[in-house]
Assembly symmetry: D2
Homo-oligomer: 348 residues x 4
């Protein structure tokens, strides 16, 4: 870190800061400039309290941290990109992952039809919510355990692994028996208890970026999970909150190459929540892959107009099928491949 | 709500929308304009699914909701302003509430010294965190049960009620035995499980605005608590995330008169988190009261430079004392009063 | 528009609003709901003053406008997509436009080397600033007329049309003699005098989105130009200001399909300013084309480390060449083509 | 500045950076840490190009600037607060300035009535727009020269100095003959030509903060004016653009104490544009003064419902009068005084 002293800091104040730095085992060096005196200090950057204490010493103008606050998630900790396995699916490798399914599991017919449509179009994972965090207390909140059972049944029928959102310890404990990957939603990205809890499981975790989370906070949330021992984290960009109102959120695709540079973790994109508008899902899916994403998570519903939640941003099976065809053409242009389109499965 | 049809919607499409509205028990009327056809429909605005289904019918351009989505929190539900009692303190009345204390309870001496300083300067409630949601997993996370016990001891010593943040069901259950008011922090404003859980208690709840929450989402979070039966909700503005980086957050004081117009609930302000900078706390405290806030929640630490968290934004006891004197002068200018300065209590 | 009356509006107030609407030649209809009374009114939505007057009548809660405020730029005014010609280049057609060149024209050698590198790699237009709006008064402000002359010389040498930014009437008048397309920068997007002035020329105009402009404001700025008679407007997304600080701006690629739906005008993307980081330019260029952009405008400098401005975001000629090869592979995946790579030209 | 080297920077790369720093007359020192090597360098921080060149040298991870980029506006350049005189009015002293008047001069009667109401209620300056930057080309654009003449006439009648917005060189040249203070609007805060032009006049300049301008950019805009020789700059906070939509902008009152710390210039607040809502003007005016503002600029119209622009945010003369009475009570609580209420003047 660098300690910038006030223009009128006294010799004693500078000496006091130096002494305190030495007590803290920092290696330090004073640089006398024309207008400012700056103290460079090298040591354990994760020692936040040291930073804060120093910032308040007399004569100190500000502290400029140099090291990044995260360690396990960083490329400096691991140079090669991580590949996370979910069943037979490898996330972060050359082949893209495409997760598809409804926002919420509504009933057996719906999730089965969605799973089949996903499988036939070439998706390699299915999604479906059983615990729904909703802005209004008067909205549908999910089928809970029953929903998880239906999701597992659909998973078996089409032989694809699943992901579902967990929102507290209860939903987490239940989900462990039914799904292959756990999702932490945007609203819970800084629910640190929940991060620790999923960090103590052996399931891969899909960590969505919070609505107003900086990239650094997002990586720190991943650090929470990894610091508990679970290294299987996949990041998911899903749009940030800005002043623009034509789209529900602003999908920050530049976060993909930024995160790829800072971290070894895989990154996928959720253009359904990221835009909130079905017509924007296909162009933003193509853009996400072109920008270097390792995959997509998409809302697809057999009958979007009947969906109990997020219908406006859900693709129809036909729309999803068309998108998969476009992705199949685009992926090789960025040296990636798309899972093969299966086709032919029917719902009996 | 108003349904705006596409410029080229067919007669059949318009008829279909009308039929569906009637099935949903909406009262509706078609308005034929020069360029647009608009259907006005009146009914249960909280029926979100109806809105979403209609939005996807052929020929529909967009749906414009007219009614606000919240009910129990709204001034239309209750015209007179609510006053919430915490022990002998009345929040929302003519006398302002001033909550002071450290970010985190660190040890017996610290919280006792803080409580005394708070009491002596005229605060009418004390605060202290026992469960700290921290951005980094490597930061201090709170003394938990032990911290709650110390807080209660301090509360008894100075005879002031307390507030502490709860972050999950475990911390909530523990806190019920030790504190007088529960706080939902900004990061948990949309932790809907937690909102429901505090809504099922009989304790007053201080609900902080989320870092990127709109006023509407904030009021909807209050609605979650109230819809479970707990009417004792106090709103707390604590700064929103914007592009400006000189301050940690941007304190949105205009939210105070806006919320006062929309809702009957009391609103207080947290200028410590709202600015992240001790030197800005006094001017923004005065501004908050001038704008109509019902009180303040302030970080004050006996020795801010030794604080394990948020020291940079904590007032010293002397700084807090000065601020209370300024508030005593300012409050009558907006027809409010400040609790009397006690003085004289000593820590034995 | 829809006029929502207060819950307690009197019969007289409702009658007064109706009378005023009739005087304004609006066609209106009252809808009596259970809780609210709503008046639907159809007429000239561009009459802003009417809106404002009505909003202030007694008993009125709010006005909800239904019509979009722009006309000439809208797809409702012109269903087919516009193609703007700049010399032999057609912007908005099947072939993509790629504009490349330095942020600022610095000297004859530099712009000539840049133009050659651009041509050789397949760019079909060149850029170069002669009037630089800079945040600091102590930064380089551009070579002005001399810079324009050098740009024109380079344009002739490689036979490619040019674009340069104009910042006031003086720079506009000078530029008319030297360049093929005028650029309005982000900071001038609401410099309405300048918009009108370029609207009175016969040159195509590249209109950058303001740093905090909504899509609607951006289209209204285009409307300013078009309402003066100049229909040759190309929109350029260049990143918006958000809370994220890892990137200079947040490139809003979802604006591309949104604008394509609302307007018939071509849209190109500037990933150099949009990210501020050379390493992000290639992935975001590919993403922009995948999202449906009609082209790119890129900063490329023969020696970025010597650039007087924006060096950190400028591609090297080699980096630009690599990007063009990647684009050549990607473009057909979205049914577009890239100008042919020329190669072989040398600077004598 | 501090140069942070990559974790794997070579000895040669470090040596090269050191050499280049010496060539640039920077004084530098290398700090070898456990994981990072950092070079502290002290010299002319305003040399932006040096920064950019260094940032691109091999082995450099990032540059952290230490010095602030502004000089003339900074408190380090001038410790005592500036007082700017406009006629007999002193802005930045103990007495607050209150500027009132309509958004636009509409006709002789309107501006005369507004000026009288302003004077009678105790305003010490009047405002009125003659050149209006409007989002839509179809909105009223101002009376131009005729408006300036009416404003001057009103100014003489009530003996109060005036301010008007200038938007280009034409409006600036005209205004010089008619008004006492020039205003640069939010949309032109980075119209650097215009900043330089007003910097070459001898009139005080009211510089509004841009809608998405950081405090640093705002101060740099003031630096533009001052670097041309005009030291009479008054800053005006008028709300920034955020995700919140209940208010037109988010009035950033914390900017007041921040700017007061960084700069010696006076700061006033515009709660009319800052909120866009007449009902919020009074509470936010009181809050602004409580936060330390040197004054207010308020929209007041004899008949807001007939205003051609911004009626919804304009106070009535009665509302303005009430606000002045509240301010008279509040100002002494923050050691300020309000101009005396005049009363009694009538419009003949």
């Amino acid at each position: 870190m660098v300690i910038v002293m006030n223009i009128d800091a006294t010799v004693e104040e500078i000496a006091a800061v130096n002494r305190r730095l030495e007590e803290m085992d920092f290696k330090n060096q004073v640089i006398h400039g024309v207008k400012k005196i700056v103290i460079g200090a090298v040591g354990d950057a994760l020692n936040n309290n040291a930073l804060k204490e120093l910032a308040q010493m007399p004569g100190v103008e500000k502290i400029v941290p140099i090291m990044k606050p995260f360690k396990l998630v960083s490329r400096e900790a691991q140079a090669e990109s991580s590949v996370v396995k979910v069943g037979d699916v490898r996330i972060g490798g050359q082949e893209l992952v495409v997760v598809a399914g409804p926002c919420a599991v509504e009933n057996r017919e719906q999730i089965m039809a969605a799973a089949l449509a996903a499988k036939n179009a070439g998706a390699n994972m299915i999604r479906g919510g059983a615990f729904k965090p909703r802005t209004s207390p008067y909205s549908f909140q999910g089928l809970e355990k029953e929903g998880l059972q239906m999701l597992k049944e659909a998973s078996r029928a089409v032989n694809l692994p699943t992901v579902t959102e967990v929102i507290d310890e209860h939903s987490l404990n239940l989900s462990l028996n039914y799904v292959d990957m756990l999702q932490i939603g945007a609203r819970n990205m800084q629910n640190f208890r929940l991060l620790k809890a999923v960090g103590q499981t052996d399931k891969p975790v899909l960590l969505k970026r919070g609505m107003s989370a900086t990239i650094e906070e997002w990586l720190m949330a991943a650090e929470y999970i990894m610091s508990e021992g679970n290294q299987q984290v996949i990041l998911c960009e899903r749009g940030i909150r800005t002043f623009e109102t034509y789209t529900r959120n602003t999908l920050d695709l530049s976060a993909i190459p930024v995160v790829k540079r800072l971290s070894h973790l895989p990154v996928i994109v959720d253009p359904s929540h990221g835009t909130g508008d079905r017509q924007l899902v296909a162009p933003m899916s193509l853009a996400a892959i072109a920008a270097g994403a390792d995959g997509l998570i998409l809302e697809m519903h057999p009958q979007p107009s009947k969906a109990v939640s997020d219908g406006a941003q859900s693709l129809t099976p036909e729309g999803f099928n068309n998108l998969m065809r476009q992705l199949t053409i685009l992926a090789p242009a960025v040296q990636r491949s798309i899972p093969k389109i299966q086709g032919g499965l029917e719902y009996v």
